[in-house]
Symmetry: C2
Subunit: 336 residues, 2 copies
DNA sequence: TTGAAAGCGCTAACAC
DNA sequence: GTGTTAGCGCTTTCAA
């Protein structure tokens, strides 16, 4: 059944073969296949038939080299397990695939050195554009981004100076809004439970906005609990437990995000702490899990998908360099 | 301050320029830069210095065309919002980046036609290999995969026939194990809450294994509730509500995954349904959120990260075509 | 150890 | 409307 000759690598058909079979020149075949320039109907039919017959798949590597314009966009994110970046990528890939552009992705694991190395190796593919999360980068990264020759979009955070396009919302403003909400509800003994803010710059900016707002209102943060780990339900739960052990009189706690807040919520459920009467909880992100808890989590919903989509559309456009604030929405749930 | 000449597109340095500055031939520079073949120490130093001075970034497009071997691996997944595929991608990108290989990703949104189109356009980049979720593909997709000339890995599900490499676990066996667990705990009136199984083939296989096992044990599924939507906490919560409205005497419910099960869990909390005394819940995936709920969710933990990692390592190796079963782990939580 | 030369498969001028 | 011709920037023989 198995023909030995089939074991040899079957090289994919080339444009030249398509042209030969169609009985036309290769540039004509190229024009037809890309629907550019002019050709007769008859020619078109012949070329299309030949291509279909051969199962021709154009070689974009060669195409990009010849036209010095690759249909690739590089995307560099800190993590994929974090729904924030997953949603962002979903928005971006959707917008790009629509235009036949492929996404090359890199995951930095929140490591700036790794980001630098990734940017360098992505640039080797001469992407048409590059999208990267955040505004904080090493000096070499920044240099590479500016010199890349393509457009650059920095996503999610807009608190700072960007290289070209910046799409997101103000992390600091999100922290401020969260603090204002808690203050307006009359909470006074406020604590904070966070994860590794050294790596997560955006969470750190939210925290700063939150803390400063409380301070300005004369109600400084009573206590805080940091854990040097990635954010998770577990870290949030243990964090709140540790915080309350030290400061049992808190009446509200701000978490670095919804995963953390759900951990806190679970801690309260376990201990029979009444929410929000005994303790109010405030998260960040607006995850599905929080929205459908017995008491919907009070949080801030971020336009993650839109950031990816708008960023992608802009980065392949010729729009002027600019910063776009997509804002956020405070979800007034039942926990604060 | 701004020099008009800087506004012109600065073309990246080429190998030829590096060679010229180093005073060697371009093939020699190429050998040095890739550390292949032989050259003197003196030559090496000159070339490296020149490259560093110019900020030379090799053009992989040209490199791939010349060597007919791209350092790209294509990965096609149904979704990124689903943590399963995010973890899988994390495992895969980690293993590939280590070897300097980039990942081109495509998101099908569980649409087989879209998958087909994506495979076609990824193949245009002549990837060294292609990884795709699941074993079910359209006939043209299958043909393209086999004829791609590179290795193919089909991930997550191993219940069926693969093209080349298959890495994952048996979805059907997971469903069987879940049913056996519930039966062994003495549950007899068992229901099911699921999402759109038409699109999610793996959830459908789990369901089949579960249902058949109950049937064989003489305890057929009492009732089931499908929702034609993507899985989510919301769908799980509403699904359980609808199911219990029809069949209030159920003593256990199997959910199509942990997100759905968490929704069910939240429904029980809201209604004061005692878990597992009044109703047992069983999920699938082993998410962090379920593990740290007040009552840890009874579920099956899947090796998502490892599937991505092992799949990536295999797909760029010359290992023989094979199916690798990475298994799964039953998490005996507090909900069943 | 090194360099010249011939492509890789395609696109883009430019004649015809 | 179509074919010819030059590359794109690199790798890879193959001589030297």
């Amino acid at each position: 059944m198995s023909n030995p000759s089939e074991d040899k690598l079957i090289l994919p058909a080339t444009l030249a073969e398509v042209a030969r079979i169609a009985g036309v020149g290769s540039s004509t075949a190229s024009r037809v296949l890309r629907d550019r320039g002019s050709f007769s109907n008859e020619t078109r039919d012949k070329v299309l038939a030949a291509a279909a017959g051969l199962g021709y798949v154009p070689n974009r590597i060669a195409g990009s080299l010849a036209s010095t314009g690759s249909q690739l966009v590089a995307v560099v994110v800190p993590s994929l397990s974090n729904i924030v970046f997953a949603d962002l990528l979903t928005g971006a890939t959707g917008a790009l695939e629509e235009r036949g552009i492929q996404c090359v992705i890199g995951v930095t694991d929140y490591d700036m050195q790794r980001e630098e190395a990734l940017i360098a190796s992505m640039l080797a593919w001469r992407p048409a554009a590059i999208m990267v999360a955040g505004l904080e980068h090493t000096a070499p990264s920044l240099r590479m981004l500016s010199a890349s020759g393509g457009r650059v979009a920095e996503l999610i955070d807009i608190d700072g100076q960007g290289v070209d396009l910046v799409v997101g919302f103000s992390s600091r403003a999100a922290g401020v809004a969260s603090a204002q909400h808690l203050l307006s509800r009359g909470y006074r003994e406020i604590g904070y439970v966070g994860h590794d803010l050294e790596r997560d710059k955006r969470a750190s900016k939210r925290f700063a906005g939150f803390r400063d707002t409380l301070l300005d209102a004369g109600r400084p943060l009573r206590d805080l609990q940091f854990t040097l780990a990635a954010s998770s339900v577990e870290v949030g739960r243990l964090g709140l437990e540790a915080l309350l052990a030290r400061s049992p009189r808190l009446d509200a706690v701000y978490f670095s995000n919804d995963d953390m807040a759900m951990g806190g919520y679970f801690h309260c459920l376990s201990r029979g702490i009444a929410i929000p009467r005994e303790l109010a909880l405030f998260g960040f992100n607006g995850l599905n899990i929080g929205a459908f808890a017995p008491q919907p989590l009070t949080t801030i919903r971020t336009p993650r998908f839109a950031i990816g989509k708008v960023g992608a559309e802009l980065v392949i456009s010729d729009a002027p360099a600019q910063t776009i604030d997509l804002g956020f929405e405070l979800i007034d749930g039942a926990t604060a």
